[in-house]
């Protein structure tokens, strides 16, 4: 068992929000050294998400930031100053991987884009992530994940057919694109290992989303059909439902993929009369009477707890699940088995939980997470310790206000 796939790898991260920091966690969790460049003048959007004047602990009190930035170090640098950019350049040339999520053109203006760095470090891997990519007429159009999800087409596909679109919870391009970024940095590192050459990766969050939704664009291209919203239902399976369970806002899923599943469900329910209707023996019959089938099932589920329903149906070979709230996840025995949540102590926030990814390697131990950094917490340690800056230079930069 090796101790981290990327032990010794140096990653520099510039930019805030969710998508960039989630992507570098993959490397941090495999023991890469990840250094974030942050600004005191213009703190990361996540550090301010719930900020109000007088928030104790200020920008270090953001739980949102702390949860997404475990295992990283923070250097404070004012990139609006030439001296700040010069330090950032030295950090970039120190790194093996630079991950940035500024608006397109920002890094070039600062002399920190890949062509400017690759002359000195031809083996540098750099990933630029933004809404629309680094090229094209709308590249400067800026946005958050909520816009990415809408532009890529997820919102249109998520909602009730008789109502407005709502979109999947959590701005889905903010969770798809970091996974894509981790993949593309991984393949760039493989390429580098074999050829000695680095690479620039230009990642568009919208394109990642559209890539996933290939069936929607393909169906339109082939047949001129625009797929629409279906609530919780599927065009291919019935029941494919979210049903009420006992309690306030408690729900369960029940899915029959085929007729055999339906027979198992019937048996699990004690073979009630209504379900013996031969019309319901086929998927097409159940799809045609989905309202009726769901209402009958709801009469049964409404009396029972989500856990009892799921246990009982799963024991009978039927797909069913607890519609978990965020609290339930902390009591989920399967997630506990995989040690999904880890607890750590933060000097401002106190003890809190962080999450791990969804991969377990049989031959690589994942790292016990260290808490997220305070803003600028590691400036001296990184500049003097890792970069080899002299104490005199460090103090001079600090006195000029560059290190904030």
């Amino acid at each position: 068992m090796i101790d981290g796939i990327f032990a010794g790898l140096k990653v520099l991260e510039l930019g805030g929000g969710a998508a960039g920091p989630i992507s570098t966690r993959y490397f941090a969790d495999q023991r890469a050294t990840v250094v974030r460049v942050e600004s005191v003048r213009r703190p990361d959007f996540l550090r301010l998400l719930h900020w109000k004047p007088g928030t104790p602990g200020g920008v270090d009190a953001s739980l949102h930031f702390a949860c997404l930035n475990a295992n990283k170090r923070s250097v404070a640098l004012d990139l609006t100053l030439a001296e700040g950019r010069a330090v950032a350049r030295r950090l970039a040339l120190w790194a093996d991987v630079v991950a940035e999520s500024f608006a397109p053109g920002t890094m070039a203006r600062w002399g920190l884009d890949w062509p400017s760095l690759a002359g000195d470090r031809p083996d540098l891997v750099m990933v630029s992530t933004c809404l629309y990519g680094q090229t094209g007429p709308e590249r400067e159009y800026a946005g958050f994940g909520g816009q990415g999800s809408a532009i890529a087409g997820f919102n249109h596909l998520t909602g009730w057919p008789d109502r407005e679109p709502v979109g999947p919870f959590g701005a889905i391009t903010d969770s798809l694109s970091p996974r894509a970024a981790a993949l593309l940095v991984g393949t760039a590192l493989l390429h580098r290992r074999r050829t000695g050459r680095g690479r620039h990766v230009d990642l568009s969050q919208v394109e990642v989303g559209v890539y996933c939704l290939a069936e929607a664009t393909g169906t339109f291209d082939a047949n001129g059909t625009v797929l629409g919203r279906m609530g919780y239902r599927s065009p291919h399976a019935a029941p494919h439902a979210v049903l009420p369970a006992r309690g306030d806002d408690r729900w369960v899923t029940v899915v029959c993929h085929d007729d055999e599943d339906w027979r198992r469900l019937r048996a699990a329910l004690g073979d009630p009369d209504w379900a013996r209707d031969p019309e319901l023996d086929t998927v097409s019959g159940r799809l045609a009477r989905a309202d009726d089938v769901e209402a009958r099932l709801a009469d049964w589920t409404r009396e029972r707890s989500p856990g009892d329903i799921a246990e009982h149906l799963q024991a009978n070979g039927v797909e069913a699940g607890i519609v978990a709230d965020f609290g339930d996840l902390h009591e989920d025995p399967q997630l506990a088995f995989r040690a999904h949540f880890r607890r750590l102590a933060h000097p401002v926030i106190g003890e809190h939980a962080v999450e791990t990814g969804a991969i377990r390697f049989s031959d690589a131990a994942d790292r016990e997470p260290a808490r997220a950094p305070l803003l600028g917490e590691h400036t001296e340690e990184v500049l003097c310790g890792l970069l080899g800056m002299s104490g005199d230079e460090y103090r001079a930069l600090d006195a000029k206000g560059v290190l904030r």
């Binding site: 969710a18 946005g143 998520t158 919870f169 593309l184 919780y232 899923t253 899915v255 997630l335």
Partner: protein, 415 residues
């Protein structure tokens, strides 16, 4: 010579729908992804909608869309001869990608350990509902249940109705990407260790991260999540994020901190030009604006003004202005409008792949191309989705089978 990053990497792809995307991604990177189907074909081939509207296993659009970049063979793994052929293929492979339930591979005698006895460098990646071990590892879950058990379903939808999902399987998209990450990381590790390993991806667990840490935050905040429909709850207020316009919907938000404020100012300026900015917007001091401090009546007043303005404009008009004036407002695209995007066209995002066996329908389908632009190497589907058993002859020949033997296996129903 193919210089793509994963050129020379052979992937034996046994995966069902949860793993379709992973194989696609690896194929785009140049891996030789060999999709292994049962002799009658993968069931998704027979899922509507069909290209041209007529049921045909070579024209299922769900199949075609998610299986580009792969070659295809048939093999009946439930038979001993099929299993032997699979083991022979494994000797020339780098990766086995599978989905299904834990134990599915062991049940047919091809668990990771067995395979690595043949090929110690083999990486075996499984996408299972809940992971390969643990108290619920034998539970079933497809997209809907993975979303539910991962905590992402309950906060999706309207407060007065049950939770809902994206109509296409978001859990499979997350899992496909995660599996590709795991495989590439394991390939990187193998460069150092010389060994393969098992890569265990849980469909449930991939759906926690899309909650963007709110699940972890519960331990501190006690916030269990709630559906807010087309917007967000901020304190006691509902802040709308999806707005009706003249011909559809757009997204726009009041939140977003310092990065949002220039967009709000620019939108209000545009509304003022049209004499549609009431004092609650035109007289606001944006320097001190903080969406966390808005009262319910302030939110309502501002929202009514934005809603009234958006309803006078089309999605295209609003988006054109958003690009020009940097409004941070976006169209809620459907497949038609995303296909018309000038931005994607300028980046040559979509590529056309030829389907000669569907020449009667034009023989060409447009697919998403590269998932990113690279400064070196290429990244794009070089292959259309395979026909059933299209590459049987080529691939079985590689492991030493002659034409007569392949024909006999076909007769016996093994391939």
């Amino acid at each position: 010579m193919d210089e793509r990053d994963l050129a020379g990497v052979r992937v034996l792809d046994l995966a069902d729908e949860p793993g379709f995307l992973a194989g696609r991604l690896l194929g785009d990177h140049g891996a030789d992804v060999v999709k292994i189907e049962p002799p009658e074909g993968h069931p998704v081939r027979r899922r509507p909608p069909f290209w041209g509207g007529v049921s045909d296993p070579e024209r299922g659009l769900a199949w075609l869309a998610q299986n580009t970049g792969k070659r295809g063979i048939t093999l009946d793994l439930s038979r001993p001869r099929g299993r032997d052929l699979f083991l022979a293929l494994v000797e020339h492979a780098d990766v086995v990608l599978a989905s299904g339930r834990p134990g599915d591979l062991a049940a047919i005698g091809v668990a990771g350990d067995v395979l690595r006895a043949r090929n110690p460098r083999l990486i075996v990646c499984t996408i299972t509902p809940f992971g390969t071990a643990g108290p619920r590892s034998d539970w079933r879950a497809s997209d809907l249940t993975a979303l539910a058990m991962g905590g992402n379903l309950r906060p999706t939808g309207d407060p007065d109705r049950p939770p809902i999902r994206c109509r296409l399987p978001a859990a499979y998209f997350h899992a496909g990407l995660e599996a590709a990450v795991g495989i590439v990381f394991a390939l990187y590790a193998r460069e150092n260790t010389g060994r393969g390993q098992d890569v265990d991806v849980s469909l449930q667990e991939v759906m926690l991260m899309p909650n963007i840490s709110l699940a972890a935050q519960y331990a501190t905040t006690g916030f269990r999540g709630a559906r807010a429909g087309a917007g967000y709850r901020v304190g006691d207020t509902f802040q709308r994020e999806i707005w009706r316009c003249r011909d559809g919907w757009v997204t726009f938000a009041l939140r977003g901190g310092a990065a949002r404020i220039p967009g709000l100012i620019a939108l209000v300026a545009w509304m003022a030009e049209q004499e549609m900015a009431p004092p609650c917007l035109s007289e606001r001091d944006w320097r001190t604006y903080n969406h966390n401090l808005l009262s319910e009546s302030e939110v309502d007043e501002m929202s009514d003004a934005f809603a009234a303005f958006f309803s006078t404009r089309t999605r295209a008009e609003l988006y054109a202005a958003a690009v020009e004036r940097k409004l941070m407002l976006a169209p809620v695209n459907d497949a038609r409008s995303i296909g018309e995007s000038e931005q994607l066209a300028a980046r040559e995002f979509f590529v056309e792949l030829g389907y000669p066996h569907s020449a009667d329908l034009g023989g060409v389908l447009r697919h998403p191309g590269a998932i990113a632009k690279l400064s070196s190497s290429t990244l794009t589907p070089a292959l259309r989705a395979p026909r059933l058993g299209e590459h049987n002859a080529a691939i079985y020949r590689e492991i030493g089978l002659g034409a007569a033997e392949i024909a006999r296996l076909a007769e016996e129903g093994v391939v």
